[in-house]
């Protein structure tokens, strides 16, 4: 893999695309800035795929973010081996949860015929990209373990060097192949946010937290 393109040009392209693409999408298709829900078409399988997938991702996303924003705190936590192991076991467990959720969602998408009508090419791309991301992440966590520590030591300085417009790719280009796949697919994911259903990252409905309650009445059949 060409280190200069993948670890210098690609991250800048991803950030630029995220910025300009999001502005473009807000301006020209403001009412579509979200993901198209398919809950009305199929809800049970959605629940069992969607819940583990999103809960797992939220944990893993904030885990990665912590190692990026406060690497010293992460390393201080990991200084004691048992704490490192608790964190890594939990992170790997959430990785498996995400993979299970993703596989269930892919099966649902393929087997439920009525969903084919609302599935775009970009949705298929999103599934494939997520599959690469999750599998390479699990591979990294297991075969190159204690990533929570070495991310903070090796990848955080690289990401900071990108943000400071002084990229230092010496270390990142030497990392194992699957780790590089995980990093590159993350950049592609960031860059594709404005053009895919990933867009709903940016419009999380925080207002739900303080808006007045709405009473919803369902006529359930007792089971």
């Amino acid at each position: 893999m060409n280190g200069m393109f993948l670890f210098v040009v690609l991250p800048y392209l991803a950030l630029l695309t995220l910025l300009l693409g999001s502005i473009y999408r807000y301006r020209y298709s403001g009412f579509q800035v979200s993901s198209l829900s398919s809950q009305f078409l199929e809800s049970k399988q959605l629940y069992f795929g969607n819940r583990p997938f999103h809960w797992g991702l939220i944990f893993l996303f904030f885990g990665h973010l912590t190692a990026f924003l406060v690497p010293r705190s992460m390393l201080a936590w990991n200084q004691v081996p048992i704490r490192l192991q608790i964190l890594e076991f939990t992170a790997l467990a959430f990785g498996f949860i995400v993979l299970t959720g993703l596989i269930l969602l892919i099966i649902r998408r393929i087997k439920t015929k009525r969903l084919h009508v609302v599935t775009t090419r970009m949705d298929i791309f999103v599934y494939l990209l997520l599959l690469v991301q999750v599998v390479s992440g699990l591979w990294t966590a297991y075969f190159f373990r204690w990533g929570s520590s070495w991310f903070a030591m090796v990848l955080t300085p690289y990401l900071y060097s990108i943000l400071k417009f002084n990229p230092d790719v010496a270390a990142v280009t030497q990392l194992p192949f699957m780790v590089r796949v995980h990093i590159v697919s993350a950049f592609i994911l960031v860059g594709m946010i404005p053009f895919t259903r990933f867009m709903h990252f940016l419009v999380y409905p925080f207002a739900y937290l303080w808006r007045p309650y709405q009473l919803v009445v369902w006529n359930y059949k007792k089971t």
């Binding site: 069992f48 081996p81 204690w146 030591m153 002084n166 990229p167 230092d168 359930y220």
Partner: protein
């Protein structure tokens, strides 16, 4: 079209304004990249003495080898493979040096050679560098401190993280060190005291170099880690390699994942809407 032009302009602005890693002099590059494992006219360290290397090897070969010896070994270059075998199969790390950086290093070696008289080095034995060093006699207390530093029970003075973040040792730990980098169990046997200390003091491996930047190990920490590596090498010489207890890591994580998943099922609203 208009948007395309604006985007193009922005890309040019971003990349045009970017500062890449600065050019350094041959001496600085030699010290930061090569000196951990090589000397000029001072004998073998981890790798060969580089004195008069420009006379011994073709320049194109030298540039290719310095940039990526591992690629040349993989491609079956006979000389590269022979060197790899001769130096205990310790791979020289690939690097991001440009042609001009490499030529600057060669030029620096030439300068050092011209300023110092050549010393004929005694021939090393086939068994490599480690055997040439007399066996050290480290105190058990020092070995124990090295183990504590390795696993993080004792913090490094200058803020470096514990070695177990990336490295693994074949010892009695239930779930041991990390697997990003090399298993260090036999590192002392392969590198010898000088090699271990050289790599710890000035890591030639890019990821380790970044991890230890501005966090140099103190002299007594270097000694403790070296002592611990000597001990672990002594204990494991001739023993079969262990897999690294990844199985426990995998099984415990899967159990934890199942535990979470069961809760998702319990929370599902099993009532049905009327038909």
């Amino acid at each position: 079209m208009k948007h395309g032009r604006i985007l193009g302009l922005l890309v040019i602005l971003v990349f045009g304004g970017m500062k890449t890693q600065g050019q350094s002099s041959g001496e600085n590059l030699f010290q930061s990249t090569c000196a951990a494992c090589h000397t000029i006219n001072k004998g073998k360290l981890v790798g060969p003495d580089l004195s008069r290397i420009y006379d011994k090897r073709d320049q194109t070969w030298l540039v290719d080898f310095i940039r990526s010896s591992q690629k040349m070994i993989a491609n079956g270059d006979s000389l590269a493979v022979a060197l790899f075998q001769e130096y205990n199969q310790i791979p020289m790390p690939d690097n991001q040096l440009t042609d001009s950086d490499i030529l600057a290093i060669i030029s620096y070696i030439r300068t050092v050679d011209s300023s110092e008289p050549a010393i004929v080095q005694p021939q090393e034995t086939d068994a490599g560098l480690a055997s040439a060093v007399p066996p050290p006699d480290y105190q058990q207390q020092l070995v124990e401190r090295g183990r504590r530093l390795f696993y993080g029970y004792e913090a490094f003075g200058n803020g470096a993280s514990s070695c177990m973040s990336c490295h693994f040792l074949q010892d009695a730990s239930l779930i041991g060190g990390g697997k990003l980098s090399l298993d260090l169990t036999s590192s002392y046997g392969r590198l010898g005291e000088a090699g271990v200390r050289a790599i710890l003091a000035n890591p030639p491996f890019p990821a380790m170099n970044v991890a230890l930047r501005n966090k140099n190990l103190t002299e007594d920490e270097l000694e403790a880690i070296t002592a611990m590596l000597w001990q672990i090498n002594e204990e494991n010489t001739g023993k079969p390699k262990q897999s690294g207890d990844g199985f426990i890591f995998l099984v415990l994580s899967l159990i934890l994942a199942m535990f979470f998943m069961i809760h998702l099922y319990l929370f599902y609203d099993h009532r049905k809407l009327p038909a």
